[in-house]
């Protein structure tokens, strides 16, 4: 395996509303930021993650290329997934050995439609989508399966929002108050905020990484695993795919100082902590995590960027990032980063 490191990370100051910026206008500032930071303006490979259903327009990711300077033609790819999977594709591409840098970005404006029912469109069209099963409905089923005590869930939301207030890129959300249900047993305060935002990361190999960044965050393990899509085939209280991905990425081979988890609901954090076997010594989501800013399709990539940032700034030597996709943590991607 070639050594691949994250050498730059940038994200937007996420908003809880549509500012009117087009997708290229949303992306361009973060692309420019990582270009300036690395001094690179061409990359061996470029890969993005987004979802056309968020904008309601086919191939909307193609017009987003306007933000990149894509002429003369660049080597480019896209995943209809969170940008974290674009990072995985870029990491695989870098293993080919013929290029030494990659640009990865993810973006999404979940303010444009009704995210709750747009998420129904990702479900299988035979058994689930015709029932109108929506994002909060399946999340509530998983919360019921976990059956966590209310104080533990409330504390996760409180901690996430407090950390988010300390993060200039996350939303300013108050301490959770009120006991209204969104969809029992989910409380309204358990629901992640609707968020627009984008993020970009530059990957570099070997000597280039060391030249571009004083403290590169080396990817020492990266793996993703998937479970059956249909919820009735799974034990929703556990995530064996996250546990498998964590083992494959080598999470347990050393202490984890910081873990950034793509937990959109507090019960997901409980499932993931168990699956990744994180103990009380690991700081979870110091950025505030998805409960403080959830720009869908960038949220997972931001977990990787936040985990890398702790190594870039010298505050940690070994961190873990997790990204999820599909209903009820169907697919999980785990990345281990080291100084």
């Amino acid at each position: 395996m070639r050594d691949v490191a994250i050498v730059a990370f940038a994200q937007t100051r996420h908003t809880d509303h549509d500012t009117g910026a087009s997708e290229p206008e949303l992306i361009q500032p973060v692309i420019n930021e990582v270009k300036e930071r690395t001094g690179l303006d061409r990359f061996g490979f470029t890969c993005s993650g987004s979802c056309d259903y968020l904008a309601g327009a086919p191939f909307s990711f193609v017009s987003a290329l306007d933000a990149l300077a894509a002429w003369p033609p660049i080597s480019e790819s896209h995943v209809e997934m969170d940008g974290a999977w674009a990072l995985y594709e870029a990491w695989v591409r870098l293993q080919h050995g013929d290029i030494d840098s990659a640009l990865v970005y993810g973006f999404g404006k979940s303010s444009l439609g009704d995210l709750r029912t747009i998420m129904t469109l990702q479900l299988d069209p035979y058994y689930l989508a015709p029932l109108g099963l929506d994002q909060l409905s399946y999340a509530a089923l998983q919360a019921a399966a976990v059956g966590a005590e209310r104080p533990e869930l409330d504390e996760i939301v409180r901690r996430s929002r407090a950390d988010g207030r300390g993060n200039p890129y996350a939303l300013d959300l108050p301490d959770p108050e009120g006991e209204d249900f969104a969809l029992r047993p989910l409380r309204k305060t358990d629901v992640p905020p609707i968020t627009d935002g984008a993020a970009a990361i530059v990957l570099a190999t070997g000597d280039l990484a060391a030249r571009l960044c004083p403290n590169p965050a080396y990817i020492r393990g990266i793996a993703h695993r998937i479970e059956p899509h249909y919820l009735g085939l799974r034990d929703l209280a556990r995530s064996p795919s996250a546990a498998d991905a964590a083992r494959a990425a080598g999470v347990g081979k050393g202490p984890v100082e910081v873990a950034e988890l793509h937990a959109q609901f507090p019960h997901e954090e409980i499932i993931l902590r168990r699956a990744l076997e994180l103990d009380g010594d690991t700081v979870i989501n110091p950025s505030g995590g998805p409960l403080a800013a959830n720009p869908v399709m960038a949220t997972g990539l931001i977990r990787v960027g936040e985990a890398a940032r702790r190594i870039h700034d010298g505050t940690a030597r070994r961190t873990v990032a997790h990204a999820a996709s599909g209903p009820c943590l169907q697919q999980n991607l785990v990345t281990v980063l080291e100084a």
């Binding site: 109108g132 089923l141 249900f181 029992r184 085939l233």
Partner: protein
């Protein structure tokens, strides 16, 4: 405030919907649904997948060609309660999403469960399907599930012919004339109303009939929240009323006063129906109403 002319609604829609092929396994399941049967596919390892998939997710092996009828009833394993259904949901009133392990299946089916309220459901609850009137071969041929029958309503009705004879006949004939008749026991020195032929304390005959006034005092009362055909509205008050001169209270409705103002010691008078409507029945007294006199200290 005028709306921003540069904000517009955008609709993404595929008119008529996509046509999707089902493949042989899902197609068989949906065809069975159309015939109002629920089937699963047996895997090479012998498990029954419901709803069926073409491949066993545990092994990646194709499922066998054996289809097993399951259910129709099943057991809830996990559920969540929807207080505010969305337009696309299967039911337009509060309902539960549930994972339902149908009898004979090794996996759970996700569907809606109709219940009066979330207290009616728990993991382990038994549920049965409700079919749509015209199944077409679609997962929504199962309209939803409902809890297993655990109780029924039994109607009881029997008819009798009752005759007021003896003391009751005399009393009701008095009521027909707007008079309340009682009896006095000379030995016990007690006045009973309604009229009776023997003293319930000493057993003596009670030959003395006397007329009692239609005024009295409330000794105790109850506020009733269940409707009663004799009461004008809910809540209503039924009370023990000690008629002036009587030693035993009689039970009657209280009216013309809010329920929360009724109190022990309150003075009341019978409200009679108009004379031309009177019969030999206690219905002659609509209820007792406060007289406005000062309350009486009850001993």
């Amino acid at each position: 405030m005028p709306s921003d002319p540069l904000v517009a609604q955008h609709v993404l829609e595929f008119p008529g919907g996509y046509t999707r092929t089902t493949g042989p396994v899902i197609g068989r399941f949906l065809s069975e649904l159309r015939a109002r049967r629920i089937v699963g596919a047996r895997t090479a390892e012998g498990r029954v997948l419901v709803p069926p998939l073409e491949y066993d997710p545990a092994t990646g092996e194709p499922v066998t060609g054996e289809y097993v009828e399951v259910g129709p009833a099943g057991t809830i394993t996990t559920w969540a309660w929807v207080d505010e259904p969305l337009p696309g949901h299967p039911l337009d009133h509060p309902f539960a999403w549930a994972l339902i392990k149908l009898d004979g299946a090794d996996t759970a089916l996700l569907h809606a469960v109709a219940a009066d309220d979330p207290k009616a459901l728990s993991a382990g609850s038994r549920v049965w399907p409700v079919w749509r009137d015209r199944p077409t071969g679609h997962i929504t041929d199962l309209s939803h599930f409902v809890p297993e029958v655990t109780k029924i309503v039994s109607n009881v009705r029997a008819e009798y012919r009752l005759q007021a004879g003896g003391a009751l006949r005399v009393f009701l004939e008095g009521v027909a004339r707007g008079i309340l008749l009682g009896s006095r026991c000379a030995r016990c020195e007690k006045v009973y109303v309604p009229l009776r032929l023997a003293c319930p304390e000493c057993g003596s005959d009670l030959p003395d009939t006397l007329e009692l006034p239609d005024t009295g005092t409330i000794t105790t009362f109850a506020i009733n929240n269940l409707p009663d055909p004799r009461a004008p509205e809910v809540p209503f008050v039924s009370a023990y009323i000690l008629l002036d001169g009587a030693d035993i209270p009689m039970i009657a409705l209280i009216g013309d006063v809010p329920a929360h103002e009724v109190r022990q010691g309150m003075r009341v008078r019978a409200v009679w129906v108009p004379e031309n409507e009177r019969t030999a029945s206690m219905a002659n007294i609509r209820w007792f109403a406060p007289t406005g006199e000062p309350d009486v200290e009850l001993t």
